[in-house]
C-alpha cells in the first residue's frame, strides 16, 4: 500500500485564495465554520452550494438545537441548489486571479466526507504560467453556471458567483477541449460513460453506496457495456435490495462476483466512494465522483434527475491497478447478499408546500421571499430568544415581503445567526421557520478584498475600516515571526501540548526558551522570509508581498486596490459601502478600543522582542531586517492615523531604529553577503529615508519626559550613525525639495536639542561635578546695555541666570569662561534666543556673564577678572553634522541671533 497516493482533504482547502466554491450534497456547516473557515480567513468570497433540502435540514436542526451558525450567509454564503431532485455534485474550487485548485470527488462537506477514509478525490491545479487543466476548471464553471442559468440558485449566490468569475479572468465559461469532467445538466452521464468505452469489455467493477430500489440502473449499464465479467463491490451498508441485485446481474454471458469490500486500514470507515471501472482490451475507463448507480444519477439529465459531477478518466490497461490497493476485497457469502437492503437513498420528491425560500438583509431592509403566496397579513419576525424584530415599515405582495428594520435590530442582525419567521396564516402554535438572511452588504464588502491578500498588499497604506485594521493585525500575526510569541505559535505548539499533559490549566503558558528552533527554521513561515522574487520579479511570499507594498507606497503608489480591482466588484456603487456593517473609518477618527489595544500590544511585544538580543540572534538577520522594516512602517502609519498609543508606538520606533542603525547593532554587525542582502531590502523599501521622516514626525507629539529624552538621545545617535549615513545625498533622497530639506534638518535640530531648563542644569552640574540640587535657575536684576542710543545706555533688567550653590573646586577666570561657553552652547542647541547668560558662583562675588547684545562679557573669580570680547560656542558633533547638511556655518561668536524660540519647527513641507 505504500505506493498508493492519499489526500488529506482539509489540507487542500487552505491558503490565500480569493474565491472558494464548494459543491456538496449535505453541508455540515458547523464543521465548515469551526475548521475550514479558520484556514480560509483570507479568502474573501466563500460560497457553499448544497442540496436545498439537505441544507434546510441542516438549518432546521441548528435552529432546533440552538446552534448559532453565526457566520452563515454573513461571512460566507451557504446557499441551496433548488433543482427538482438531489443536487449531488461534490467539488471544491479555489481560485485567484492567476491560479486555481480543484477537488472533485465523492465526499460531502463535513467530517465524514472531508476528514475520513472511504472517499475518492481528484485534484487539479492551474497556474497562469503553465495553463494546465484549464478546461477541467471550465467544466466545473459550466456546471455551476448551468445551475444558475436554470434559476436554481438564490440571487445572492448568483451575485457571489459572478464576483468569483470576475476575479478569475483565466477561467473560461466552458471547456474548449476534451477533458475528463462530465456533468448531467443536459445529457445523462451514462452517455458520456458509454462514449468513453471502446471495444469489448472484459471486466466491469462497480461500487456505489446507493442503488435504485429496482437496481435498474445497473441493469442498463450492463445492457450497454455487456462485460464478460462483472464484479460488484458491496459493504454491509450498501443500500440495495440483495435479491433484486442478484436477479439483475444474473444474465447470460456475464460472469458475476459479488464481493465484500472495506477500507483495509479503517474497517469501520463508510466506503462512500463511487466507482465504475471498465476494463477493456485496449484501455480502461474509471468513473468516479458523485453519481451512484441510480436512475436519477446516471440515466437522467438534471431537469428530471439529480445534479451530478463525474470524472471519467481513460488510461491504458492496468492504469488504475493501484485503486484497489487500500481496500480489502473478498467474496460475499450468499447469506450476506440476502441481508442487503434498500434504504431509500436521499432522493426525495419535490414539494410544493409553502416555505420560506430565502431572506436578504440590505442596509436596513430585510426581504423575505416565499415559495408561494402566504395567507393575508405580514410575517412575524423573531430573534432566536423570542424577541420580536421591530419593523418600521413592512410591505409585501404575499410572496415577497420587505421590512425596514430599526437600527438596533439591524445591528443585532449583523452579528449573524438566524431569524425565526412565522408566516401569516400558519397554524396556531406552529414552530416558526428559521432563516439565515444573506447579508448582502457584508458579503459584497468582503469581496472588496478581491486582489489576493488585499490587506497585506495594501499595507503600504493602512486599511480604512476598523475591522480591516484588526484583520490586518491578525494577518501580520499569521505572517511574521517577530517575537517569541509568534515564534512559539510556529514552533512551540507541540511542546505546549506535552507540557499540558498533567493539567490543562497551564497549557496556554508559553516557555520562550523551549522554542524548537530547528522546527521553526523548517517552517514555511520562516522560509517565507528567505524566498526571493519569482522569475518575473513578482513577490513569491507574503513577506515579499508586504515589502513590495511598502515600497510601492513610498514610491507614491497608494497600495489600495486599483481601479481595475474595484471594478471587479460588480455591485460597486449600487450598494452601501459598509463592510460587515461597519462605516468607513475616516482618517484619524474612531477606532475601536479592541483594535487600538491590539496594536498597542503589538508595539509592546515588538519592543520587548527587540531588546531580547538572544532571541534576535536566533531569528537571524534575514528575518530581523524585514521585521524592523515592516513593523517600523506599520508603526509610522498607525501613529499618523492615530490608531495607537503614541507612547508605545514611539518607544517601539526608537527600539527599532536603535536595533537597526545603532553602533554594533544589526546593520553594522553584518558583513559580506548578509550585509548586501540586508542593504538590498533596506534600499528597496527606502528604510533610511523612512527612518528620517518618521523621526521628524515625532516633533508632533507631546510625550512624557522620559520618552522625550529617549527621542532626543536616539536622534543624536542616528545623526552620527555610520550605518544610517546621513549625508547630503540621503538628505536629498529623503527631502528632494530644498524647503523640505530645510524643514527636515530643522526638525532634527529640534529633536536632538530638546533639553529642558532642568536638563541644562543637569548638564552644567555634571560639567562641574556637583549635584544638581546645588545648581538652579533664578531670576536676577543686572545692569545691561539697552542696545539703543549712542553710547548705549545702561539700565537694570531682569534676566535668567544660573546660581551655583556649592563651591567649584579649582575655579578660575579661565574655567569660568569655559563654563560660559558650555552654557551658551547648550542654550543655542536648545534653540533659546541667546541674549544674555550669567553664572553666579557660590563663593564671594564670583560671577561670569556674556551679554550677546553688547558683545561683551566678564569673569570675576576671587580677585581675578577677565574681560570677554568674544564667546566661541563648542557644539556637539551631531549639531555640526546638521550644520553641514543645511550649509550653515556654525556661529563663530555667540552673538544675539535672530529670534529663535523654543518652539517646534513646522512639519516637513
Amino acid at each position: 500500500m505504500s505506493d498508493v497516493p492519499v489526500i488529506v482533504v482539509p489540507e487542500q482547502i487552505q491558503g490565500s485564495w480569493t474565491n472558494l466554491v464548494v459543491l456538496t450534497y449535505s453541508a455540515h456547516l458547523d464543521f465548515f465554520e469551526t475548521h475550514l473557515l479558520r484556514q480560509l480567513s483570507r479568502v474573501p468570497n466563500r460560497i457553499v452550494l448544497a442540496d436545498d433540502r439537505r441544507l434546510a435540514d441542516q438549518f432546521a436542526t441548528a435552529a432546533r438545537s440552538g446552534q448559532r451558525l453565526g457566520q452563515a450567509n454573513r461571512t460566507y454564503l451557504a446557499a441551496p441548489i433548488r433543482n427538482p431532485w438531489a443536487a449531488h455534485a461534490k467539488a471544491v474550487l479555489l481560485t485567484t486571479s492567476t491560479a486555481g485548485r480543484l477537488l472533485v470527488g465523492s465526499g460531502n462537506l463535513g467530517p465524514d466526507g472531508y476528514a475520513e477514509p472511504g472517499e475518492l478525490w481528484h485534484r487539479y491545479t492551474y497556474d497562469d504560467g503553465i495553463g494546465e487543466h484549464v478546461d477541467v476548471f471550465a467544466a466545473v464553471r459550466s456546471l455551476i453556471d448551468g445551475i444558475a442559468t436554470r434559476g436554481w440558485l438564490d440571487p445572492a449566490a448568483v451575485a457571489g458567483l459572478t464576483r468569483a468569475w470576475s476575479s478569475t479572468p483565466w477561467l473560461p465559461p466552458r471547456p474548449a477541449a476534451r477533458q475528463p469532467l462530465h456533468h448531467n445538466l443536459d445529457t445523462p452521464l451514462i452517455e458520456a460513460i458509454t462514449a468513453a468505452v471502446d471495444g469489448p469489455i472484459s471486466l466491469l467493477t462497480v461500487h456505489t453506496p446507493f442503488y435504485d430500489e429496482d437496481v435498474a440502473t445497473l441493469g442498463q449499464l450492463l445492457d450497454r457495456l455487456r462485460p464478460e465479467r462483472l464484479r460488484v463491490l458491496l459493504t454491509p451498508d450498501t443500500s440495495v435490495d440483495g435479491e433484486r441485485l442478484a436477479a439483475v446481474v444474473s444474465r447470460p454471458g456475464t460472469a458475476v462476483s459479488l464481493d465484500r469490500v472495506g477500507v483495509a486500514d479503517a474497517p469501520t470507515a463508510f466506503l462512500h466512494a463511487k466507482i465504475i471501472h471498465v476494463v477493456g482490451n485496449k484501455r480502461e475507463v474509471l468513473v468516479t465522483g458523485s453519481p451512484n448507480l441510480s436512475r436519477r444519477a446516471l440515466l437522467l439529465p438534471a431537469a428530471t434527475g439529480n445534479v451530478e459531477l463525474a470524472v471519467i478518466e481513460t488510461r491504458p490497461p492496468g492504469g488504475f491497478a493501484s485503486l484497489y490497493t487500500p481496500l480489502t476485497v473478498q467474496p460475499l457469502s450468499a447469506s450476506e447478499s440476502l441481508t442487503l437492503t434498500f434504504r431509500g437513498g436521499g432522493e426525495k420528491a419535490p414539494t410544493d408546500a409553502l416555505a420560506l425560500l430565502y431572506s436578504e438583509l440590505r442596509g436596513n431592509v430585510l426581504t423575505l421571499v416565499f415559495t408561494t403566496a402566504t395567507g393575508p397579513g405580514v410575517p412575524e419576525l423573531f430573534f432566536p430568544d423570542g424577541t420580536a424584530l421591530l419593523a418600521l415599515t413592512a410591505e409585501g405582495d404575499g410572496t415577497v415581503f420587505r421590512f425596514r428594520l430599526a437600527d438596533t435590530d439591524v445591528e443585532r442582525l449583523t452579528r449573524g445567526g438566524r431569524v425565526d419567521v412565522r408566516a401569516p396564516g400558519c397554524a396556531e402554535g406552529a414552530e416558526p421557520e428559521p432563516t439565515w438572511p444573506y447579508h448582502v452588504d457584508a458579503l459584497r464588502g468582503r469581496m472588496e478584498r478581491v486582489g489576493d491578500n488585499r490587506l497585506l498588499m495594501s499595507m503600504g497604506a493602512l486599511p480604512h475600516t476598523d475591522n480591516d485594521l484588526f484583520a490586518l493585525l491578525r494577518q501580520l500575526e499569521q505572517t511574521l515571526i517577530f517575537d517569541p510569541e509568534t515564534a512559539w505559535k510556529v514552533a512551540g505548539a507541540r511542546a505546549a501540548a506535552h507540557a499540558g499533559e498533567e493539567g490543562d490549566a497551564e497549557r496556554e503558558r508559553v516557555r520562550w526558551e523551549e522554542i524548537d528552533w530547528e522546527r521553526l527554521y523548517r517552517h514555511p513561515r520562516y522560509r517565507g522570509y528567505q524566498r526571493s522574487r519569482g522569475p518575473d520579479g513578482e513577490p513569491t511570499s507574503e513577506i515579499e508581498l508586504i515589502l513590495s507594498s511598502i515600497a510601492a507606497r513610498l514610491n507614491g503608489v497608494t497600495g489600495s486596490p486599483t481601479a481595475q480591482e474595484q471594478d471587479d466588484d460588480l455591485g460597486a456603487g449600487s450598494e452601501p459601502d459598509d463592510a460587515d456593517g461597519e462605516k468607513q473609518r475616516p482618517r484619524g477618527l474612531s477606532v475601536s478600543t479592541r483594535t487600538r489595544m491590539a496594536y498597542n500590544r503589538l508595539a509592546v511585544r515588538f519592543t520587548v522582542a527587540l531588546h531580547d538580543t538572544v532571541f534576535q540572534e536566533k531569528l537571524g538577520p534575514t528575518l530581523t531586517v524585514r521585521n524592523v522594516v515592516i513593523l517600523g512602517h506599520i508603526l509610522r502609519e498607525l501613529l499618523r492615523d492615530d490608531v495607537i498609543d503614541p507612547g508605545r508606538a514611539i518607544t517601539a520606533q526608537l527600539a527599532s531604529w536603535s536595533f537597526l542603525w545603532g553602533p554594533d547593532k544589526l546593520v553594522a554587525s553584518l558583513t559580506g553577503e548578509e550585509r548586501a542582502a540586508a542593504e538590498q531590502v533596506l534600499t528597496e523599501v527606502r528604510a533610511r529615508q523612512t527612518t528620517l521622516r518618521a523621526l521628524c514626525e515625532l516633533t508632533g507629539y507631546d510625550v512624557d519626559d522620559e520618552l522625550r529624552r529617549a527621542v532626543r538621545d536616539q536622534t543624536q545617535e542616528l545623526l552620527l550613525s555610520p550605518t544610517l549615513g546621513l549625508d547630503q545625498r540621503l538628505l536629498a533622497l529623503t527631502a528632494p525639495d530644498a524647503r523640505q530639506a530645510a524643514a527636515l534638518v530643522a526638525n532634527l535640530r529640534y529633536l536632538a536639542g530638546d533639553y529642558t531648563d532642568r536638563e541644562i542644569i543637569e548638564q552644567m552640574a555634571a560639567h562641574w561635578g556637583i549635584g544638581t540640587t546645588s545648581v538652579a535657575w533664578e531670576r536676577g536684576k543686572v545692569q545691561r546695555s539697552t542696545g539703543q542710543g549712542c553710547p548705549p545706555r545702561q539700565s537694570e533688567v531682569e534676566v535668567d541666570l544660573i546660581r551655583v550653590q556649592e563651591p567649584i573646586a579649582g575655579l578660575t577666570v579661565e574655567r569660568a569662561g569655559t563654563d560660559l561657553v558650555r552654557l551658551a552652547s547648550l542654550l543655542i542647541v536648545t534653540g533659546v534666543d541667546l541674549d544674555y547668560v550669567r553664572i553666579r558662583y557660590a563663593q564671594g562675588r564670583d560671577v561670569a556673564y556674556w551679554d550677546a547684545v553688547a558683545g561683551e562679557g566678564i569673569c570675576y573669580v576671587g580677585s581675578d577678572e577677565k574681560e570677554l570680547t568674544e564667546l566661541r560656542p563648542e557644539f556637539p558633533a551631531w549639531w555640526q553634522r546638521l550644520d553641514d547638511l543645511d550649509g550653515r556655518a556654525a556661529p563663530a561668536v555667540a552673538r544675539c541671533s535672530p529670534a529663535r524660540s523654543h518652539q517646534r519647527p513646522s512639519a516637513l513641507v
Binding site: M1, I7, S65, L120, R123, E506
Partner: protein
C-alpha cells in the same frame, strides 16, 4: 500510503484527525465548573485543596524575589523545584496529630511517595513533570485571583510572577512559622544537598499543610482573611457565603462522614438518613444556589447517560461500528424496549409504554415523589424514584429501557421542582442560573421551555426521548466533537451519515462533575473553622461558630501585615 504526488488522482482520502478518547462529550461540564461553581466558590477549584499552599507558594516567590536572580521562568524553575520536591517529602514525613486528616492533595506525592522510606532526600528528585509543579499547575491562577501574586505580563512591566504586598505578608507569616527550622536555616538557601529525614520532619512540624490550623501566630489568621475577604469583593462575599453554608449543613447527619455523594443529597433534598437540614436564614440564598447547582448536575447526568446509552447500544447494533445504523432502526429498538420495560419494579405500573404521554408519566412520577414543597423547602426523599435514586440506579453500564425512562424521569422531576414558570419565579434572580449553558450547552431554561411545549402537545415518552436523543444527544455530541477535532482529535462516538448513524468503538464513561466538595471541605477544615468533614461528629471551632453566626470574621490581618510591604513598594 504515500502522500499524493503531482498526478491528478484518483486519491483515496486519508483520515485528517487522529482518533482521541476525549471527555465531557456533550460539553456540559463547563457549565457546572466554569459558570455555576465559579460563582459559588470563586478562587477555589477542584485541585486547589490545601490553603497552606497559598502560603508556601507565596513564600517561595518572595524568597525568589529576595535573591539576585534573573527574573525568568527558567530561573524560578531552578529555584522552585528543589524546594517543592523537599516540601512534598516533608508533608509525607509529618508526624503531627493534625496530619491525620490530611489524606491527599500533596503535590508530587505520586512520585515522592515511592521513595519516602529513604533516610535522605534529594532536592533534585524529579517529583512532577510540570516545570512549576503545583504552583504552575493548580495554584498560580487562584492566588492571582485572590490578589497574592501578579502574573507575568511583560506589557505591564511584570517580567515574572511576583508576590503582591499582601502575598508578601502571607509569605512572611509562613516564614515566621518555619524560620526557626534547621531546614530553613541550613538548607533552604542553596537547596543543593540531600536533606535528612529528621530535618524534613522538623520542618513539617512547622510548615506542613496540616499544621496551618495551629499557626495562629503565623499564617493562619492571614489565610483566613484572604479566603474570606480577598479577590474581587463580590467573589469574596460568595466564597465566604459558601464556607458559611458548609459550616451550616455539616452539622447535620453527625453520625456519618460527609462524602461528596452525601453532600449532593444534602444539598439537593436537605434530607438524608431521615435527618433534615434546615439552612439558617442567612444561609438560605447560598443553599438555594447550591441546590440549583446540584439540579444542573442531575440534569446533565441525564443527557450524558443517554449519550452513553446510545453509544453502547449503537455499537451493539452496528456490529462494533462496522455497519451504519439507520436512525429508524434505533427508534424501533427504543420503542420496542420501552414497550417491554420493568421500570416500575415493585411500584404499581400505570402502563408505562412508548406511547404513554410524557405528561402522564410525569404525573405518575410526581404522584410518588412529592414535589409540592417550594424551592427553599425540604424535598422529601423517595426510595425508588427521586433523582438521586434514579441516578444511582443508572450509574453503570446497563443500557436498557429502564435507563431511558429513569433519565427522562430525572428531567421531568427537575422540571417540576425548579423549572416550571412558577418555580422559576420563586427562584427570583437565581433563576438566571438555570439559563446557564444557553443554546450551546443545553441551558435548563431553554430546554424546559421546549419540553413544556412538547408536554403540552401531549407527546409520548417515545417521542420525547427521540427528540431529546436527536437534538440534545446526537446533535450536541456532534457539535462538541466537531469543535474538538483540531485539539483532541476525533472523539466522535457516533455521527449521522444521512439518515443513519455511524458508531465508533470507544468507551462511554458517565459521571457527575466534581462539585469541589473535597477542596471546599478541606479548606474549611484546614482554615481552622471546623473539624474534618470526612469524620463523624463534626465540631465547629470558635472561628467557625463566629463565621456561621455572623456571616463573617474580622478582617484586617492581611492589610496590617502588608502595610510595610506597601511602603516598600512605594519606595518610602
Amino acid at each position: 500510503m504515500t502522500s499524493e504526488g503531482e498526478t491528478t488522482g484518483p486519491f483515496w482520502a486519508a483520515r485528517a484527525y487522529p482518533r482521541g478518547s476525549g471527555q465531557d462529550h456533550l460539553g456540559l461540564g463547563s457549565v457546572s465548573s466554569d459558570r455555576l461553581l465559579a460563582g459559588l466558590s470563586p478562587g477555589v477549584n477542584v485541585l486547589t485543596v490545601h490553603p497552606r499552599y497559598w502560603s508556601f507558594y507565596a513564600f517561595l516567590l518572595d524568597e525568589f524575589w529576595a535573591r539576585d536572580l534573573p527574573r525568568s521562568q527558567a530561573a524560578f524553575r531552578d529555584f522552585y523545584r528543589p524546594r517543592e520536591a523537599l516540601y512534598s517529602f516533608a508533608c509525607q514525613l509529618c508526624e503531627q496529630p493534625e496530619h491525620e486528616t490530611l489524606t491527599s492533595g500533596v503535590v508530587g506525592s505520586r512520585r515522592t511517595y515511592s521513595v519516602i522510606g529513604q533516610d535522605k532526600f534529594d532536592p533534585a528528585f524529579d517529583y512532577i513533570k510540570e516545570p512549576l509543579g503545583g504552583y504552575g499547575l493548580y495554584y498560580r491562577t487562584v492566588m492571582e485571583s485572590m490578589g497574592l501574586v501578579v502574573l507575568t505580563d511583560p506589557a505591564a512591566g511584570v517580567v515574572f510572577d511576583a508576590p503582591t504586598p499582601e502575598g508578601r505578608a502571607v509569605a512572611a507569616g509562613y516564614r515566621s512559622a518555619v524560620g526557626g527550622t534547621r531546614f530553613y536555616r541550613d538548607y533552604f538557601a542553596t537547596c543543593d544537598t540531600a536533606v535528612a529525614r529528621d530535618v524534613l520532619a522538623e520542618f513539617a512540624a512547622a510548615g506542613c499543610l496540616c499544621r496551618l490550623r495551629t499557626a495562629a501566630t503565623a499564617d493562619l489568621p492571614l489565610l483566613q482573611d484572604v479566603f474570606l475577604h480577598y479577590g474581587e469583593p463580590e467573589e469574596a462575599e460568595r466564597r465566604r457565603a459558601t464556607f458559611r453554608f458548609f459550616l451550616d449543613f455539616c452539622r447535620t447527619t453527625q453520625a456519618e462522614a460527609v462524602s461528596q455523594d452525601r453532600f449532593r443529597q444534602l444539598v439537593y433534598f436537605r434530607e438524608l438518613d431521615g435527618e433534615r437540614y434546615e439552612p439558617l436564614p442567612g444561609v438560605l440564598g447560598t443553599a438555594r444556589r447550591w441546590r440549583i447547582y446540584q439540579a444542573r448536575e442531575y440534569f446533565a447526568f441525564a443527557f450524558n447517560r443517554l449519550w452513553a446509552w446510545v453509544t453502547r447500544r449503537g455499537l451493539e447494533l452496528s456490529d462494533d461500528g462496522l455497519t451504519l445504523v439507520p436512525l429508524g432502526r434505533l427508534w424501533t429498538v427504543i420503542t420496542e424496549e420501552l414497550d417491554d420495560n420493568d421500570f416500575c419494579g415493585d411500584l404499581s405500573d400505570p402502563g408505562i409504554t412508548a406511547d404513554m404521554p410524557g405528561r402522564a408519566f410525569a404525573d405518575w412520577l410526581t404522584g410518588h415523589v412529592d414535589i409540592t414543597p417550594g424551592v427553599d423547602d425540604l424535598w422529601p426523599r423517595h426510595d425508588e424514584l427521586d433523582e438521586h435514586t434514579l441516578y444511582a440506579w443508572c450509574a453503570n453500564d446497563e443500557d436498557d429501557a429502564g435507563t431511558l425512562l429513569a433519565m427522562l424521569a430525572i428531567l421531568l422531576l427537575v422540571h417540576r421542582r425548579l423549572c416550571t414558570p412558577g418555580r422559576q419565579a420563586d427562584l427570583g434572580d437565581d433563576a438566571a442560573l438555570l439559563a446557564e449553558g444557553g443554546g450551546q450547552r443545553i441551558g435548563m431554561t431553554r430546554f424546559y421551555e421546549l419540553l413544556h411545549r412538547r408536554l403540552t402537545a401531549n407527546q409520548t415518552i417515545a417521542e420525547l426521548l427521540q427528540w431529546i436523543i436527536i437534538d440534545f444527544v446526537i446533535v450536541q455530541h456532534e457539535r462538541v466533537a466537531t469543535a474538538k477535532l483540531p485539539h483532541s482529535g476525533d472523539t466522535f462516538r457516533f455521527r449521522r451519515v444521512g439518515d443513519a448513524l455511524r458508531f465508533f468503538p470507544a468507551d462511554a464513561p458517565t459521571a457527575f462533575n466534581d462539585s469541589r466538595f473535597g477542596a471546599l471541605s478541606t479548606i474549611a477544615h484546614e482554615l481552622g473553622l471546623v473539624s474534618s468533614l470526612a469524620w463523624e461528629r463534626r465540631e465547629l471551632t470558635a472561628s467557625g461558630l463566629a463565621l456561621l453566626a455572623d456571616g463573617d470574621l474580622p478582617t484586617g490581618a492581611v492589610q496590617q501585615a502588608a502595610a510595610e510591604f506597601h511602603q516598600e513598594s512605594r519606595g518610602e
